[in-house]
Symmetry: D2
Subunit: 138 residues, 4 copies
């Protein structure tokens, strides 16, 4: 596998495919062959009563990070579609979050990613996910 | 298993636990022992380019419906927490959606649900999920 | 979707693709468009200490049933490959088991199935799974 | 988290809980706080036509490795039960296999593991899984 877009190009592309971008302020902290780190700002709208960050917020971050690492390797011309996402919620999330995603497979038809969601400040694991994307014929 | 809240009580409770309620306008269409149907209104913010409904939107609906069916059987005093959610995206979603959730297990510590997400108008299956909730000691 | 093989043809095919067939004595109880019921005989080798049926045994039954329902609709010429299987263990399994599998999607490239594993005698739900198969170009 | 059993104790315990042990010849290659490597010998019975290793074989290895890492941290007195296992099949497996399992969470009631299954000789990733175990009150 080989990167075909750099962090700046991928970041510019986020707004187009993730309309929620302003709510989350996704930012690519690192992008390397096979791995990406995407952080987000936690806001009022992402919280549940008690101050915990909602499941859908963490799902969105996991999906965003893994989608972007796939795109960074296949290019934005291709329209990848999430076919499966499995998420385990590990511990109570607080504050800003970062998703470290890793490409486990980049096949002709399917890409599989593993994603760890961590607190930004002390890198405590709060959720772990795997996601599969269907890649259209190129 | 036995219902301890009716649809009206559960619906009144949604706003408290799902701050996103106004965005989604969740509504309980049916509530029976072990099953629930929850519908939502699809809005601009739920769409991806091309008009498809975003994965996070469907995750939110699946999580909401299964959370509510658990609460309807254990009561709102208990604070259930999602520990796992696995979702398969089946076909392109359009228009308003409904989630049919079913309790597969209601144990002392864990509840497991299965959720089908369908288009409201023609009941086409667009996503399928299973979710596990940890139930605190009662 | 439409069946292209009948129960007898599918059953004859099991031995070829599931070398474990003699251990399990898989049998197709029912086969209809989109659904299949496959039963197995539980033997000593399938048990864990305490008499419970092992997780791998239930995985094998789930994979077998969903694989067969896919084959029944695409024909044995095509070589489908399991890409994902998610299984929730619901209650303690005992005695012979049956898997009711349902095709949720039969696309050109992917098939998705949902599987309930039940005790044969009283149809108690013991496990629930979803499985995805990659279908090679036809 | 802290180990309460060493590799030798855990290995001696395998035969008791995994009756399939002789078929697989599971061996603990490494055991550290939070991580374990368990290898298996691939035999005729584990193969599918075409020489690929069967899904159930990899499920068994993933379940075994993650079960053992949990036991190594809670002791064999406790009877942990698999509640969920999600597995993605990544590439064609051949030869002997090794499972690298990592404890993502060791709570009072739930343990969550991540497992990579690799070929023994060239450490190619062939499958990836996550598993959840319910831990009985201690």
């Amino acid at each position: 596998m080989k990167l075909v877009m750099d962090a700046q190009e991928v970041e510019a592309y986020i707004a187009e495919v993730f309309p929620q971008v302003e709510d989350y302020q996704f930012k690519i902290d690192k992008l390397n062959t096979g791995t990406i780190s995407v952080s987000m700002k936690t806001r009022e709208a992402h919280l549940r009563p008690g101050g915990t960050i909602s499941g859908p917020t963490m799902f969105t971050l996991a999906d965003c990070a893994s989608y972007l690492i796939v795109l960074a390797h296949i290019g934005k011309v291709a329209l990848a579609v999430t076919t499966n996402l499995n998420i385990n919620f590990i511990s109570k999330p607080e504050g800003d979050l970062v998703a470290d995603a890793k490409l486990l497979k980049l096949g002709k038809r399917l890409a599989v990613c593993e994603i760890s969601i961590l607190t930004k400040t002390d890198r405590k694991l709060v959720a772990h996910a795997t996601a599969t994307y269907s890649i259209p014929p190129r």
